[in-house]
Point group: C2
Amino acid sequence: MYIILMYDIEVNDEDNPYVLKKVFNICKRYLNHIQKSVFEGEVSEAQYLKLKKELFDILRENKDSCIVFKSRNEKWLEKEFLVKEDIDKTSNFI
Amino acid sequence: MYIILMYDIEVNDEDNPYVLKKVFNICKRYLNHIQKSVFEGEVSEAQYLKLKKELFDILRENKDSCIVFKSRNEKWLEKEFLVKEDIDKTSNFI
């Protein structure tokens, strides 16, 4: 299945300043990074369940948001870039 | 058609500090706000062209990013909230 994943992580938060970086690195292992907090890609059902499990261990209810749109076929989705940022500047978390 | 729109706006930028708020308010007129910089909703072709025109007047190439995923039918897309933030806190731009 084809998925688009987008997250919004609360960052000014002492108890765990690394949530954003961890979520980013997990998503990068399964999906393609297309915008600061947006990933897309083809995954199997098993991969999707593994991705979700890893994210559930880190994401915090009421603080963070993570939404996934799933489509059985990439062809049913048309993607349009209205404007493009320089993705590299948001791709490498140092 | 059903669209998902997501943007990433460069904000620490003196020449136009209001781009983010303008983009937010334009999107809110056409779509439903579901995450900090993510909107979704059903629009006609004419509405979509109008929305794009308004956004093109404000968005800046290489600074901002705006991606739209289009699906001819909302039913072809399944949405899953892995975790939910309190959307109201991100919904009202003062």
